[in-house]
Amino acid sequence: MEFEYQKALIDGAVQNVDLLVSLLPSIPDATAWDGLAKGNYATELLLLSNCLTLLRESLAAAATLMDAAVCPV
């Protein structure tokens, strides 16, 4: 597989994760939701948000490394 194509895939993945982050619901009033969600919904949502943020950072770092490989400074 072409390296440039793979880089384009990773760049696309970064954008996809941006989209996923934008789909995340806002964190609701935990008092109102905890009982209904049988767990701390707000905390779970926060963990998912953090996970997606780290995923994005990780992919962006990979893309940066690829940039450096394609166009070495």
Partner: protein, 477 residues
């Protein structure tokens, strides 16, 4: 029940044939998070593809970075699936709890009403009343015309036409009833009224049993008994009605909920038309929209106007109310028959008329909307766009008892949530207040409302040469 938090004011939607009761926010969140779980799988696939590269420029660091990303994608997928599943469980549990709670309250209220009536019936005074009051009252009034006339004169002297704006309520009372808890209490009391009367024993119970055999129960039965008892003295006594065409004018049919509510005939003075029938041609088909206004005369003694308290009580009882018969006459005058495509729209008492005619099965009903109307006990037809719009702090819809419609879309809004209560009587019932709710409905993005709006207004979409014909309905004799 669905709460649509994306608008201001906050509308609560229920019915529409749905069995799941959950907030829109919860459903929306469950969908979004489920989507995240599905889409992150695509990200994982991309990472795996990129990590499989054999290009010499691939470095160990890069591979480590992608490996970490792969783990995070898997973790994200697991978390999204977990949250989505828990939310779905919560929605199901909430639905069950809500249904149980409603059922429990309803059964409890009925039982309490029966027990109260039963207890009163054991007291000597009330026992005598139950045994002799009904036949005694009727006999007395029929044998003593003077007494009957005195009762009639008493009510008649109170007012001629008692228009909505003539009614003044103490502000403390206005604030008391402009409250969702108070209106819910009214709803429960109305729905349990027949049980209270049944527990009372004696003739009321016998009358109720007789009505029940005819399929008349709940508040309809109590209204029927009230109508029977009082009509002997000329109070709430039904009679013949007639309609007069007052105007015909070109019109653009309502295209949204605000325009629909602005289309209600302005009533208040005798002689003003209470019925508007829009005629339009759509795709070569002649269609009709019947728009019915609210109560004009609140005097329990029937006067000139057919949209009065007498009609309201009869309509709730399922009896041939003057207002209902008047609209039927107007429709016949327009040439509307059982095959003519027609939609019914009614505000307040007009809502009872609209619901009654739509539910009658006598017309080719294509849609129905009631606004601030006591129609909980009238089952609207299924398979057509139907909406019941009511304010939770408006006691008038509560007079229809507990909501028995499950197919119709029920739109609720607390009109005076965190707002000062105005001094005019029943502020949450006023059409100006409902127009504000209509505006929120037009701007709402909830799927159920968009579907309803699309389906209901498609009826008049593309209409040309539309006219409004107005009718005044009055009592004869």
């Amino acid at each position: 029940m669905r709460r649509c938090a994306l608008s201001d004011p906050v509308l609560t939607l229920s019915g529409g044939g749905t069995t799941t009761i959950a907030t829109d926010v919860m459903l929306g969140d469950a969908y979004s998070i489920g989507l995240i779980g599905d889409l992150v799988v695509g990200v994982s696939t991309v990472i795996d593809l990129a990590a499989s590269s054999s290009d010499e420029r691939v470095t160990v660091t890069w591979n480590e970075q992608l490996f970490e990303a792969s783990l995070l994608a898997t973790d994200s997928k697991g978390r999204a699936d977990f949250i989505s599943a828990r939310l779905t469980e919560a929605i199901a549990a909430y639905s069950a709890a809500n249904a149980s709670a409603t059922g429990f309250i309803e059964v409890g209220s009925d039982a309490l009403a029966w027990a109260m009536g039963s207890w009163l019936g054991t007291l000597p005074l009330f026992n005598q009343l139950a045994t002799y009051a009904v036949p005694g009252y009727g006999l007395m009034l029929s044998l003593m015309p003077d007494v009957r006339e005195q009762i009639r004169a008493h009510f008649a002297s109170k007012a001629g036409e008692l228009a909505p704006d003539d009614i003044a309520l103490p502000q403390w009372f206005n604030e008391l009833i402009t409250n969702p808890l108070a209106t819910y209490a009214v709803r429960m009391a109305v729905s349990s009224a027949d049980n209270g009367l049944s527990g009372f024993g004696g003739d009321p119970a016998a009358l109720l049993a007789s009505l029940k055999e005819q399929g008349i129960t709940g508040q309809a039965a109590v209204a029927a008994i009230l109508s029977m008892w009082t009509s002997v003295a000329g109070v709430l006594k039904e009679g013949p009605v007639k309609v007069t065409q007052t105007a015909v004018e070109p019109v653009v049919p309502p295209r949204n909920n605000v325009e629909l509510m602005e289309a209600f005939p302005v009533v208040g003075e005798p002689g003003q038309p209470q019925i508007r029938i829009d005629t339009m041609v759509v795709n070569g088909e002649t269609r009709y929209q019947v728009i019915v206004g609210g109560t004009v005369d609140f005097n329990p003694i029937p006067g000139q106007d057919a949209f009065d308290t007498t009609s309201n009580v009869a309509a709730v009882a399922g009896l041939p109310a003057g207002s209902v018969r008047a609209v039927e006459l107007a429709m016949a005058d327009m040439g509307i028959d059982a095959d003519s495509p027609v939609t019914f729209v009614g505000y307040s008492a007009g809502g009872i008329v609209a619901a009654t005619l739509a539910a009658s099965g006598d017309y080719n009903t294509r849609g129905v909307v009631t606004v601030g109307a006591p129609v909980g006990h009238i089952i609207l037809p299924s398979g057509v766009p139907a909406a019941i719009i009511e304010h939770t702090d408006d006691p008038v819809p509560a007079l229809g008892g507990l909501q028995e419609n499950s197919e119709a879309l029920i739109v609720q809004n607390q009109a005076f949530l965190n707002k000062p209560i105005p001094t005019e009587a029943l502020p949450a019932h006023r059409i100006e207040t409902y127009i504000e709710t209509a505006s929120a409905m037009d701007n709402e993005i909830a799927l159920e409302l968009r579907d309803f709006n699309d389906a209901f207004y498609a009826f008049s979409d593309g209409a040309n040469a539309a006219t409004s014909t107005y009718y005044y309905a009055e009592r004869e004799g």
